[in-house]
Symmetry: C2
Subunit: 306 residues, 2 copies
Amino acid sequence: MASNSMENTTVDSVSGKALKALLSPCAACAEADLVRWLVPPGTPEALADGMRYCMAGGKRLRPAVAMLAAQAVGGSAENELVRRAAVAVEMVHVYSLVHDDLPAMDDDELRRGRPTAHVRFGEAMAILIGDALLTRAFGVPAECDSPLVGRLTSELSRAAGAEGMVAGQVADMNLCDLPKGLEGLRYIHLHKTAAMIRGAARMGAVAAGADETALQAVSDFAEHLGLAFQLFDDLLDVTGTAGQLGKTPGKDAETGKQTHLAAVGIEEAKRLGEEMTLTACRALEPLGPAGETLKELAILLTRRTH
Amino acid sequence: MASNSMENTTVDSVSGKALKALLSPCAACAEADLVRWLVPPGTPEALADGMRYCMAGGKRLRPAVAMLAAQAVGGSAENELVRRAAVAVEMVHVYSLVHDDLPAMDDDELRRGRPTAHVRFGEAMAILIGDALLTRAFGVPAECDSPLVGRLTSELSRAAGAEGMVAGQVADMNLCDLPKGLEGLRYIHLHKTAAMIRGAARMGAVAAGADETALQAVSDFAEHLGLAFQLFDDLLDVTGTAGQLGKTPGKDAETGKQTHLAAVGIEEAKRLGEEMTLTACRALEPLGPAGETLKELAILLTRRTH
């Protein structure tokens, strides 16, 4: 076990550096854009502080997916609408974490290595910070004078809403009926995580003016990437440490949320995750060489530890 | 006191009927549209049930403001984009009530005469129902293929977000610094209530293709209407009964939220409310006879008991 873990660390640190190198230009862009666009003028300072606190840190995976998808369909990641779409997706992602961490939900005290919003600001403010982030996410692309804003709004609402991410959270909290085992696990992953990663890719591609074939390619890619990503994330929750995760490990098992993963088994889950990564990469074939960076992202993500 | 209350009842019942007659065609339209547009395909049944439960009932004042504003600027309340904007605003309003009623916020158990969402479905589901309603609100107008969707999205985000309604909730919960007395009360009312009523009018007018002068007129009208409306609502909380309100009366005083109103005094608050109603009506002058229905709405609302 010790040598295995050592071997993983070596492989992981190489992949980790490569992943960081791949994500960092997008992350830098997202950081700068968040400074500009996150807090609308007229926001009370206490609320603005809370919004900034919650948005700090993170890999910025979703903005990267949006920006790299824009490039993959022949557009530019520098395009303002692409960048607005990219940070909008991140804001929706972070709002979902803030609400997910609430005492009535997952009741988590640690997120990205720091106290969660409700621990830091109180529960009422955490609810309102989440609400503000979600609302602002729709406003950021809409401030751009582009005929594509309507489609972006629709994509974001679908990915994040009752038929997307919120459905996944309802399922994850055992608040609706779900099949047992693999099918149930797939439903949760597809909605809770893959819907927004798919949404990120679609929004980036739509903002870059993708045609239908290219949009479908990045959309299918991102859906499978999202499925693989959440599966490996669940596995990390079982095998990781708090230092690696930046959150409390074993939390899922405690709350009974790992029943689906347990039913599948750890080894089978790993195999499934790798299979989904391959499916994701194959979806990019219609894009030719333009799809290479997204492929690289998918492969590096399967090797991550945090 | 008894005869005074009797006299009020008589005046109120006449105004109440007139108000109902004015609102009911818009309300009927909103009910039908909500059946069609509220729940997106693919929503888990338990979540859909929760969304429908929370959306049931209410005066549908905000959809009426949106639709009547569309008419006031020379458009049609039957226009699909106007109707989509109208129900979007109502969905945002209801999400805000669901989150506002949560134990960590106002901790209310009664809303529109029925158990609040968290009492009925549990706290986690109530948080998620609110999130789903807010997200869907942006999706409903965006499903319309119109170049105006971008502007509507932007208007909705501003009215509902960190610079609008959420700011008002932060202030109302004493989570940010605020001046004492009338100025503080005005900040809360302006953001917590007037921002969304103004947003309703603006969205209706924008969806109907209003020019700048007409948009400004309905916008100013609705802002003052919203201020007056919330002031009378606070007064009702002091003077009303649970049967009239459909919620627990005296709640605000209990939670110390009435300090602002107390500083102003009940009689002065009434005078201010009437003054704001007149200011609202004067704002409609540029619209000529087309503004008459909105004026009537403002006057009838000042006479309501619930």
